[in-house]
């Protein structure tokens, strides 16, 4: 990069200066937008989470800096349960999606014939369905006295054996799997496309079985790219609201739901901000990894 720049600087010094000025000018609006609507709110949320509002005897509010909001998050039984619940849901959904999407991606990459082509057509559909609609479809599908329950009934099972899926953690996980399948599959497919056919053929020539090829070539080579998908989806599930709001239990709640309740129902921006910061911290490792890997892929 540096070499290219200096070489061009020798040839056309004036144009380069103008190019830099034009570059700044063209990027500036979007940078301004991101500062106002992303960076400032995030900083604001962090400072708000350290702000404590006290009420004195006269009924006036006084504000001070303190860790009280965090103490409440850590000691409140409900809020702590919400944090654990959120992480467990995110990990479970990501693990399930990863396994199913990997099978689809393998079938798309190495499979031939009508089944593979059919898979390639249907896996993408949920990408085009808004999450509110997907959640509702899953409610009608999986609810007690819903469609699946009706089929079990038609098969002669007694009423009441159908487990509680909707308004339970299972409902959240199944719907998240449904919604995230296309994205993960697309990503894994593009990662698998980067593995060359010649590498696999040469392994086969020396007598490797399909399982050995998968275990020792395909899986390790696809791991870095696959992790981008895993981190991105983890961030998505942890920061989701729609699915747990419509399909989740009342307690424990996922942080997204509890945060919005604190914000809009209890008018507690301090606790809401603290939960937002907690969500940022919970996903920090995933976020850093995602940014670094995506950066490496995009900026070459």
């Amino acid at each position: 990069m540096a070499v290219v720049t200096s070489a061009r600087a020798v040839v056309r010094p004036r144009r380069l200066d103008r190019s830099r000025a034009a570059g700044v000018l063209l990027v500036l609006p979007s940078l301004l937008y991101l500062t106002l609507f992303v960076f400032i709110p995030v900083i604001k949320a962090i400072t708000t989470s350290f702000t404590v509002r006290d009420r004195d005897d006269a009924g006036n509010y006084t504000y001070r800096v303190g860790l009280d909001n965090y103490a409440q998050l850590a000691t409140s039984e409900t809020l702590r349960a919400n944090v654990i619940f959120t992480v467990l849901i995110a990990v479970t959904s990501v693990a399930i999606v990863f396994c199913i999407a990997y099978v689809i991606a393998l079938a798309l990459r190495f499979g031939r014939g009508p089944s593979a082509r059919f898979l390639g057509r249907i896996y993408i559909v949920p990408l085009f369905i808004p999450s509110v609609i997907a959640s509702y479809a899953m409610i009608t599908f999986l609810a007690n006295h819903g469609f699946v329950d009706g089929i079990l009934q038609a098969l002669g099972l007694p009423d009441g054996v159908f487990p509680k899926i909707v308004f339970d953690w299972k409902g959240i996980v199944i719907t998240q799997v449904w919604l995230s399948l296309p994205f993960m599959t697309v990503l894994l497919s593009s990662v698998l496309l980067e593995i060359s056919d010649s590498l696999i053929e040469s392994a086969r020539d020396v007598g490797a079985s399909s399982w050995q090829i998968f275990r020792h070539i395909v899986l390790p080579l696809s791991a870095p790219g696959a992790l981008i998908g895993v981190t991105f989806m983890f961030l998505g599930v942890i920061g989701g609201f729609t699915v747990p709001y419509l399909l989740g239990p009342n307690a424990p709640q996922m942080l997204g739901v509890s945060m919005v309740y604190y914000m809009t129902n209890y008018f507690e921006p301090y606790i809401a901000s603290t939960q937002a910061v907690a969500i940022f911290l919970l996903s920090l490792v995933a976020a850093v990894y995602y940014v670094r890997q995506q950066f490496k892929r995009e900026v070459r």
Partner: protein, 286 residues
């Protein structure tokens, strides 16, 4: 007695992967199961929207009717929400294009100072869990008076669309041969003329796809709009929250089908333009 027992062949748990017949059968089963998992919930929704009477445990409605469609389409709350959604989405798309296309061009072609740092900043919105970002934004909106306003919603929708469109346009501009533009410049065209008559036509497919996705993302955005838009600015997906919570099953089903139509239309029309890279670049509506 001491004779060595012949070594048993190692039992391989993975023998079936190398058996083509077994593999074909398993793949067929898997494809079928996936089709049921993806398709039947959507089908149930469509059935509900045309159900006149459907008592459990019947597997299909016992009476068919268009009554719910009529009820939904004549409901002023529904038409208001549709109108609002379709006035927000184009504005979001246009503003995003106006801001993101220049940035994408600069990142792809010009010597932007601190280019790497800036590109990193553009990834930040994706790295924060969305709902945390929206709640933080709502706290700010309360203080600056943007809560429950039209522009508050537009600017919130732009968080996702801006990042997405910037990445797509950067990739699109980078894929166009820079010599074409230089040739136009050498022939005496101004930078703007060279951009609009040489680069832009070549970049148009990528820009159109990014715009379509921005439009749909805005149309379908629900959680952020619910936080900053209530009680006065109810878009279609926000109204759907209410319909679902009030347990009016057929009404919510009709509305769902209505709301899913634009996206499904795109799926059918634009499937051949949908390069996987566009999708992977950050559309993941998870």
């Amino acid at each position: 007695m001491a004779a060595q027992a012949p070594a048993l062949p190692a039992v391989r748990l993975t023998w079936w992967i190398d058996d083509p017949r077994m593999r074909r059968m398993l793949l067929r089963l898997f494809a079928g199961a996936l089709a049921v998992f993806i398709g039947i919930p959507l089908l149930t929704l469509v059935l509900w929207s045309f159900a006149g009477e459907w008592f459990w445990p019947n597997l299909i409605p016992t009476q068919w009717s268009l009554r719910w469609w009529q009820e939904v389409l004549e409901n002023p709350r529904v038409t208001d929400a549709m109108f609002l959604s379709f006035t927000i989405a184009p504005v979001v798309t246009a503003l995003t294009a106006l801001v993101a296309i220049p940035a994408g061009y600069a990142f792809a072609r010009l010597d932007v100072p601190y280019r790497r740092l800036l590109l990193l900043l553009f990834l930040i919105p994706n790295a924060f869990p969305r709902i945390g970002l929206y709640v933080s934004l709502a706290v700010l909106y309360y203080q600056i008076g943007l809560i429950d306003t039209y522009w508050g919603i537009v600017f919130l929708h732009m968080i996702g669309t801006l990042v997405y469109m910037t990445w797509i346009t950067t990739a699109t501009f980078r894929s166009i041969d820079p010599h074409l533009e230089e040739a136009a410049r050498d022939a005496g065209a101004s930078p703007l003329r060279a951009f609009f008559s040489v680069v832009m036509p070549l970049a148009l497919p990528g820009i159109i796809v990014a715009s379509l996705f921005s439009f749909l993302a805005s149309l379908d955005e629900a959680q952020g709009t619910l936080i900053v838009g209530t009680p006065h600015y109810i878009t279609m997906p926000v109204l759907l929250y209410t319909l679902i919570s009030s347990f009016q099953r057929p009404v919510a089903a009709v509305f769902s089908v209505l709301l899913a139509l634009p996206s499904l239309l795109l799926l059918v029309v634009a499937q051949r333009y949908l390069h996987s890279e566009y999708v992977a670049a950050g559309l993941g509506r998870v």
